[in-house]
């Protein structure tokens, strides 16, 4: 009973927190008050301007942010990829450095200087779209880098497509919209907002429904299966052969 109550409380808190977070994010884009923008400007000057330039114009160390929109900022900062931990083949994820309020303040500031993709509306992130369409679109557009089950995959020169399990719907949407790192942009003419909603629906379906066949071995396909059969399958069988032929001492 205590467990059930705990889970219920946990769900209420996370769900409530999530609703709060996403509503503030959308509010930030639609009616960002001057104070929020000012707050964002300060944060930007302190944390981002050294690489991206005081007027978002970019420097030798970082690209221009003119026209990237609130969605880009929310994705890059909200997933902990920015501020950059170190130069490398691509920006690595690390613990998020700012509170949701601070992230939306910076997003509002960047969006206020030039138009760009906005943070998506919560109605596109509810995961209640068409999973079949989403799955097909995912296989055609995303699976070659992210793997059919969203387990991630290798790209050239040490770059990689990250696993998609555990990524918030809003970040998946923003990634498709803005094409972070090596990812191509899937604009609204390419994948309509409805299509993006379907893809998110499919990914959330995979997350909520673990494989009916048992533990997925990382959803990595035949390599993981082969490794498993050699080490654990044959390992167990060889152990049995040794046991069966052992002589009593």
């Amino acid at each position: 009973m205590a467990t059930v109550a705990l889970i219920a409380i946990g769900l209420i808190f996370t769900g409530g927190g999530y609703a709060l977070f996403s509503s503030t994010a959308t509010a930030g884009t639609s009616a960002s008050s001057q104070t929020t923008i000012d707050e964002g400007k300060k944060l930007f000057a302190a944390n981002c301007a050294s690489c991206h330039g005081a007027a978002l114009q970019g420097t030798a160390a970082g690209p221009s942010l003119i026209g990237v929109g609130a969605a880009s900022v929310d994705f890059q900062v909200g997933t902990g990829r920015m501020p950059l931990a170190m130069s490398g083949p691509q920006a690595m994820q690390k613990p998020v450095q700012f509170s949701p309020d601070q992230v939306s303040a910076m997003a509002a500031y960047v969006a206020s200087l030039s138009p760009g993709p906005a943070i998506p509306d919560a109605s596109l992130l509810d995961g209640k779209g068409d999973a079949t369409n989403g799955a097909e679109l995912f296989r055609i557009n995303c699976a070659m880098c992210h793997n059919v089950a969203g387990a991630g995959g290798a790209l050239t020169e040490g770059k990689f497509a990250p696993p998609l399990t555990g990524v918030a719907s809003v970040h998946i949407y923003e990634a498709m919209l803005t094409g972070p790192q090596n990812m191509p942009v899937f604009n609204n003419a390419n994948l309509t907002p409805e299509d993006k909603r379907d893809i998110i629906t499919y990914l959330k379906y995979l997350e909520a429904n673990p494989s009916p066949g048992g533990y997925e071995l990382g959803s990595l396909g035949p390599v993981a299966e082969g490794l498993f059969v050699w080490i654990f399958g044959l390992g167990a069988i060889v152990a049995v052969t040794i046991w069966l032929t052992a002589k009593s001492n």
Partner: protein
């Protein structure tokens, strides 16, 4: 109903035990009068099997084949090998309403809407992986202990053909669900076939009945998978086992074990009971794997569509070496000559792998020719006692393992945060340099181990007990090894290189010189076994 029957029968059987034995006697008489089977039972039942864990690996492959056979038969009742398109209307939500082949939709039906279907499918697939892996381990055991020598060369060939057929079975089965992964696998095979100059395109049209993927291939693969290949495999397994009976089992050297006897347990009753139990253990392990671990989640891959290719698209492990060979080829090897494209990036792997397979297939004959050894061998070699063969084996394993590793280059790159180009370049180097290093190192290790054996046989183990003699000298006391242990250390054949001898016409042919040269390479570095004389001398100190 069945419950009731057994309840009624059980007391009857327990209260009149003599009736049971009388029944057995009558039944065996009945069968004997009509089949004269007692001779065979006597012959097989008294066959002796020596006990060593590595002798059971062949059994594992046999048992996993039986499991594959049973589960496969179940799957054929529900699988439909047709590429006609249907709209999926089963219970897996993210595929509902999607157009796919009947093959795929029936595979999904087995997985989601048939009671026990997914479990049987997973048992079938895991057992297939175990089957090929067990054959591989079994072959390594045969190779490294020299069990392929006369009179067992032909059985090595049969076994190796079985290994190839098992891979073919695996690949045809992998292609049957017509999901994205299997379609991608077929696409690679199609590419390899088309890479063959002049005839490739035509062969591809012949195989696929026109353009890839067409509508014929799944049906054709199905016939191969459930009819032709299993029939050949069953026939070859039967031959393989008959040869095992005819040749008798090999054994490791030991006291009382000679080239002319087999020391072990007779098949009936102990060995048969143990083997029967072992079958169920293997079955149990495979069922456990199938119950708890997903294999080939076709519902994730979705129906085949020629446009998408998923990251992490690999063949099952036993085809990995071929996939790896393709991945290792450097770019820029396509040459256009007289309006024809020659794809050396495909031809080189095809030829190299073909040669590799050929050498493994005929290795017993190559070694017999080099060593000029025409004796029968029923005692196994310890791998260290034939350093060159063991070193060649290690080189082969390293080569195969490099190709194998190359097939998982992308997974290695993401999981160890490396660049995929770096992984490929490293594996390219180990494919060529690895076997050479493995050969040299293994040979030296074997010789060192032989030296150690010789030392132990002559002077015993170092006991670690230091004694100070009255004169002030310190010595370490050596513990002599007991006779049974020593037998294993000293009883092996001392192989010497061949001598150049003129043939009947008094000539020395070029071939003879090559053979002597090879023999010298094979046997020159060796440690002779300890002789009785040396032992007697050794006992004195």
């Amino acid at each position: 109903m069945t419950n009731l029957l057994t309840k009624d029968e059980a007391p009857a059987a327990t209260t009149t035990p003599t009736k049971g034995s009388r029944f057995t006697a009558a039944a065996s008489n009945y069968i004997e009068d009509r089949t004269s089977i007692s001779g065979a039972v006597k012959e097989f039942g008294r066959k002796i099997f020596p006990d060593h864990w590595s002798f059971m690996l062949g059994e594992v492959s046999l048992y996993s084949f039986v499991i594959i056979f049973l589960t496969g038969s179940f799957l054929t009742f529900f699988y439909q090998a047709s590429m006609a398109t249907v709209i999926y209307d089963g219970s897996y939500v993210p595929l509902k309403g999607l157009e796919m082949s009947t093959a795929m939709s029936s595979s999904l039906h087995i997985s989601f809407d048939l009671r026990g279907g997914l479990l049987i499918r997973q048992i079938h697939h895991w057992a297939a992986l175990v089957f090929v892996a067990a054959i591989g381990l079994h072959m390594l055991r045969i190779y490294f202990t020299g069990a392929f020598r006369k009179p067992r060369e032909l059985n090595w060939v049969i076994g190796f053909v079985l290994f190839i057929l098992a891979m073919a079975e695996g690949f045809t089965g992998y292609s049957l669900p017509d999901d994205l992964l299997s379609g991608n696998g077929l696409r690679i095979i199609e590419g390899m076939v088309q890479g063959i100059p002049f005839v490739g395109t035509w062969i591809s049209f012949l195989v696929f009945g026109g353009d890839f993927p067409g509508t014929a291939i799944v049906g054709r693969l199905y016939t191969l998978h459930i009819l032709l290949l299993p029939a050949i495999i069953v026939a070859l397994i039967a031959m393989h086992l008959v040869f095992v009976i005819v040749h008798k089992h090999t054994q490791f050297s030991g006291p009382g074990k000679t080239e002319n006897n087999v020391v072990g347990a007779p098949i009936l009753p102990m060995f048969a009971a143990k083997a029967g139990g072992f079958f169920f253990i293997v079955f149990g392990i495979i069922v456990l794997m199938a119950s708890f671990f997903t294999i080939n989640p076709i519902w994730n891959y979705g129906p085949y569509d020629p446009s998408p290719v998923s990251a992490g698209t690999q063949p099952d492990w036993y085809i990995g070496f071929a996939d790896g060979a393709l991945r290792l080829m450097p770019p820029g090897l396509e040459v256009v000559l007289f309006n024809h494209t020659y794809s050396f990036n495909i031809l080189i792997p095809l030829v190299v792998l073909g040669l590799f397979i050929l050498v493994v297939l005929i290795y017993p004959f190559i070694e017999a020719w080099i060593t000029g050894d025409k004796r029968e061998h029923h005692l196994l070699d310890r791998p260290r006692n034939v350093p060159t063969r063991t070193a060649i084996g290690a080189a082969g394993v390293t080569f195969y393992a490099s190709l194998w590793a190359a097939a998982s280059s992308d997974i290695v790159a993401t999981h160890f945060q490396l660049s995929i180009e770096g992984v490929i370049h490293t594996v390219q180097a180990t494919t060529i340099l690895g076997p050479i290093a493995a050969y040299l190192i293994t040979k030296r290790v074997c010789i060192a181990l032989m030296k150690k054996d010789r030392e132990i046989a002559l002077h015993g183990y170092e006991s670690g007990r230091i004694v100070r003699l009255p004169g002030g000298e310190y010595i370490e006391v050596h513990q002599p090894v007991d006779e049974y242990e020593r037998w294993k250390l000293v009883n092996f054949t001392d192989n010497k290189p061949l001598m150049i001898r003129p043939n009947a016409k008094g000539q020395i042919t070029g071939l003879q010189k090559v053979r002597v040269g090879m023999s010298k390479w094979f046997f020159e570095d060796r440690i002779s076994p300890v002789t009785t004389k040396e032992l007697e001398h050794g006992d004195h100190h």
